[in-house]
Amino acid sequence: MFSEFKSVLANPRQSLQQVLNFALVLSTAFMLWKSLSVISNSPSPIVVVLSGSMEPAFQRGDLLFLWNRDVGAEVGEIVVYNVKGKDIPIVHRVVRKHVTMPISGIEASANGSTSIPSPKLLTKGDNNVADDTELYAKGQSYLDRNEDIIGSVRGYIPAVGYVTIMLSEHPWMKTAMLGIMGVMVMLQREQ
């Protein structure tokens, strides 16, 4: 242990380089994720289906790609939303949509353009008996398109997200994986 520490001090640049290699792997992954967020305008552009509530359309473990640059949402569209106070995003289908039509002149802003009000949506899981009113926050009976929706589903890859379900259900796997990754990057050198 002591001799290792001594060799770190003897060649600080090489040690800094090895730490940097590890940090670059992590930070590149994070920044790619953030770039995808910026492009899709969604805080979470890729999600994994955690429940079977959308079967047979989506199975547990499917990987979904989201897009959040559309202003509205149509009935029949599959959206992902976050409920206030709950952390887990939910993937369900829009079954009802309400738009408060602007009374002409009142909602028009100073420069003459009318702002489109955010539609109110009701969602339901294809495989669920009832709609999602029960899942929403207390007193909430509709989702707000702009406030609650984090994206609509534009593409998916079946099953590949199952790894993350395994990792979150068995936390020790996460620790082991991170440890192995770290050791590998620290030990091997470029080339």
Binding site: R13, S27, F30
Partner: protein, 232 residues
Amino acid sequence: MASPPQKISLYNLTDLKTQTDDALAPILTSLPSTSKFTQNHYFTNVRLVLGYVAVTIAGVLFYADWKLGWDATKAYTAPACVAYFLLNGALTYWAWAIESGKVFVGTRKGGQKLTLSSSVTKHQPIYKLKIRYEAPKTGTRFVDDQTIEGSFTQWFNTHGFLDKKALRRWLAGNIEVVGLADPEAKKEWDEEREDERVDEEVVSAGAMRAGATSSTPTNDGNATKRGRPKKA
């Protein structure tokens, strides 16, 4: 000060190269008398700064995102991503095009500069060293470029340990300025070469004698049999 000797696999070309690369600086910075080189870390420093600035940007964004959430950080995320990937690109370009294998840059009293770049070809145990020696001769600058090659077997022993003295002899014997600065190692290198030359002469003389015997008609059949027993 120096790290303990490290045993490596002699079949791992990456290990052979990096071990040799790492051993160059200690030799060149500890040459005798006033002719030793002082290592210049400019290229490494630039690489480290580029890398750590990029990592810091990512780290700050990660912390802000964790503490404040997406809505608050949204406006800063795009510029941060652009800056990160620009720095990352610059780092890649620097390491690939500008550094391109430089393993030692050193200057010594008088302003002479020695730059060594190493490379290997996949699956060939040959260490290639590109040497550039620059001296500020009065008025005009003197530049000397040279490329040398050496087999790793010359300075790695059969147990997988680097023989620093052998590497030092190889450097002194092949790089003129190092040889002049390190006459002792140069002398040892020349003596080794002399021994090898004598050995070769003895071997070739022996071969000639063997050739002479086998050409006698009575021995011809036997010699062929002995020479290629498996194929016959």
